[in-house]
Amino acid sequence: MLVHGDIAGIADPEPDRDQANSPQASLELIHSWRREAARRLFGTPELALAGWGVAWLLGFGACCLASSSTPRAAFPAWVAYLILGVASAAAGVISTVETVHPGRGIIGPSRRVALWYGWSWGLVYAALFFLILGLAVQGLPPALLARLWPGLAVLVGGVLYVAGGALWQDRLLYLLGAWTVMVGAASTFAGTPGNFAVLSLAGGGGLIAVAILLVLRRLPGRSGA
């Protein structure tokens, strides 16, 4: 019935003799290989999380330094935006590769869920860009814009993590989303440049912390990952 290497009457290349394991070895194989197979099939979410964590840490950190007036700004604002833009683009590439690459050759519901979820990030952030652009064009004062756009950018990321946590029944992802949503909202109370410091440390730091937690959980000898 198979296309590949299916030649009728060929001798079994791997007879079952000597291949039956002890129950202990079989159980160990199941545990270790299940984890490894899942990693190869679904990618490593900690890479994308760490990528966005670093992007927020560096990008918003740079924005904080650029908009600080005491004693004086460390560098001009365009440098900060450039750092945020480049770091976000790199994180976007990592996320896309980590979604698309492991799923090759797989079709079915879980593949569709992963792709649709991935597309919603691009869709939502594109819409957010135009929302901020619209407000700027309509004359929203720059002082308000500087509090609004970074807080919204982080809040929207948190919303998507909450959705992902609900979708895959992933408690850690859901908690990360809840934390990120609150960080984004709370940052607006800090004023500028304090809001950038909050988003950089609490927002980016939260993502990096969860990425580290996922790596630790994946280490051998830890079951139930």
């Binding site: 019935m1 590949h4 290349p13 039956a20 202990q24 099939l41 079709i107």
Partner: protein
């Protein structure tokens, strides 16, 4: 050589599913079980995942298919034949039973059959 020899190691473990107990097929079943219930994986991707030659994988898939554990579906994508493999519900249950049997065997006296212990 007989077509499907009874391995010596299985003689003591009569209730462990011999279709799944062979190490290469166990690897295939675990990999397929990691996917969702209605997900399918292409033959080359599965081959790369479990690290077997196409011939070996075909052989093991044929045994799993004969046991009613996997479904092998041939289809066309852009006029190229593609084979997709999935673990059907019977296979998923057999794998769960097999894992439970292993755990019961290890928890209890090794000489007793697991059938008496697994609910």
């Amino acid at each position: 050589m007989s077509p499907d020899p009874a391995p010596d190691a299985l003689r003591d473990l009569p209730s462990l599913d011999p279709v799944i107990h062979a190490q290469p097929r166990l690897r295939v079943v675990v990999a397929l079980a990691a996917l969702g219930e209605e997900d399918q994986v292409s033959f080359p991707r599965l081959q790369q995942l479990v690290g077997m030659t196409a011939g070996n994988l075909s052989t093991h898939l044929r045994k799993l298919e004969a046991a009613g554990y996997v479904r092998v579906e041939k289809t066309y994508q852009h006029r190229t034949p593609v084979t997709y493999i999935s673990l059907v519900r019977t296979g998923r249950r057999a794998f769960e039973d097999y894992t439970a049997a292993l755990q019961a065997l290890l928890a209890d006296a090794p000489h007793l059959t697991t059938r008496e212990r697994v609910p």
